[in-house]
Point group: C2
DNA sequence: TAGATTGTTAATCGATTAACAATC
DNA sequence: TAGATTGTTAATCGATTAACAATC
């Protein structure tokens, strides 16, 4: 156990462990080891143990880790033992795909509002949501006390929207726009750009 | 200049530099510095210089880097000074969003075939493509000599499809299924799972 | 008990930063 | 020329791995 600041690189691996453990639980397994979990996620057993031990002693010598117990602990650590409301900004194809995605709910997230700037789209429905005017984004997000946003607007609009999101009290942004955002330090961003991921692989081809 | 093996972490930053430089070029800029580029992408100037200098001497003391020249060099290094054909597997919402995405072409990629296993979907159109039966995926990909795939099938199908992709000679997979894939070492994978990205942020909230 | 596996320490390995001579 | 900025070296910082006592 270690109460110092945990490196971000470790935090980044925990969701991967969580995902693998959930699959093990779903297939009825009760117990695992650092060895087995490591093989499943492509990480050394030593690293699995080191990462987990930052937060406490969750295993047992000789038998390994109880899957449900470790799941519970990881969910606590990552604060996904609850449901986070999420605002979606940008009702294009990607926005639609995310709005319809069934995989959020059981992993801690729920889209609760959708915004766009296109007059044609405002007022229309995506699944259960009515698309709202991005002009009202600051007050709507504040009123709903939403802390997480997913951004699927064009690159040209992303920085501008980001500033409104910060103003609205958003603390974490999952950014699908292909641009690095300029942000205050207290707001976290994660980037998803399929092209940068593809370009990372072509180097090796 | 350094001819040893370049660390993957450096390769991972190059697409980010490339993206920022492209934006600078689009807005008419001719020249930049490690300082300026670093601020734009959130990386130290020293690191920008170190990363770039792995591949040659592309800058000039006193004046910095020519944007078009550095763009050209980075595209060469990443092998995106050409267009890569890409196979898309999974014609769900995410598959549709990717098939319709206009941002691939000018950054080195082009979807050329779409597969699904759903009899209802096979034969239907997505944009310009007719959805093909995943049962024929190995011969179709081999025949077209495609080396890169994007995987947007459910987690339960992903490992199975991956094995077929490897058999078909695919060398890089962009995986949207929320599961770690088991792969031979000579095939590269990149993972995109919005939930793991979100869970990485909630820790800090 | 004997075997298995944890949590942790120390050693190794790798990445980042600071500093500056070279030079445009 | 004077000012700016590169490419590179050495120092620092951080992450990973190997090894093993503790113990279930």
């Amino acid at each position: 156990m270690n109460s110092d600041k945990i490196p971000d690189i470790i935090i980044g691996r925990l969701p991967i462990y969580l995902r693998a453990l959930q699959r093990m639980a779903d297939s009825g397994l009760k117990t695992t080891s650092s060895q087995e979990l490591g093989e499943l996620v492509g990480v050394s057993a030593a690293q699995i143990r080191k990462d987990i031990s930052q937060f406490g002693e969750f295993g047992k010598q000789g038998t390994g880790y109880s899957i449900t117990y470790l799941l519970e602990k990881l969910r606590e650590i990552l604060k996904v033992n609850r449901i986070w409301d999420v605002a979606l900004i940008g009702a294009g194809d990607m926005g639609h795909a995310l709005a319809n995605y069934q995989g959020f709910a059981n992993r801690g997230f729920k889209i609760v509002m959708v915004f766009d700037s296109d007059k044609e789209k405002i007022g229309q429905k995506i699944g259960d949501f009515t698309i709202e005017d991005v002009a009202h984004i600051v007050e709507k997000i504040k009123a709903a006390d939403v802390k997480i946003a997913m951004l699927t607007v064009p690159a040209s609009a992303a920085q501008n929207v980001t500033e409104k999101l910060v103003q609205a009290g958003i603390k974490g942004i999952l950014n699908y726009a292909p641009i690095t955002l300029n942000m205050p330090n207290h707001v976290k961003v994660q980037y998803i750009d399929p092209v940068t991921h593809l370009q990372r692989m072509t180097y090796y081809l």
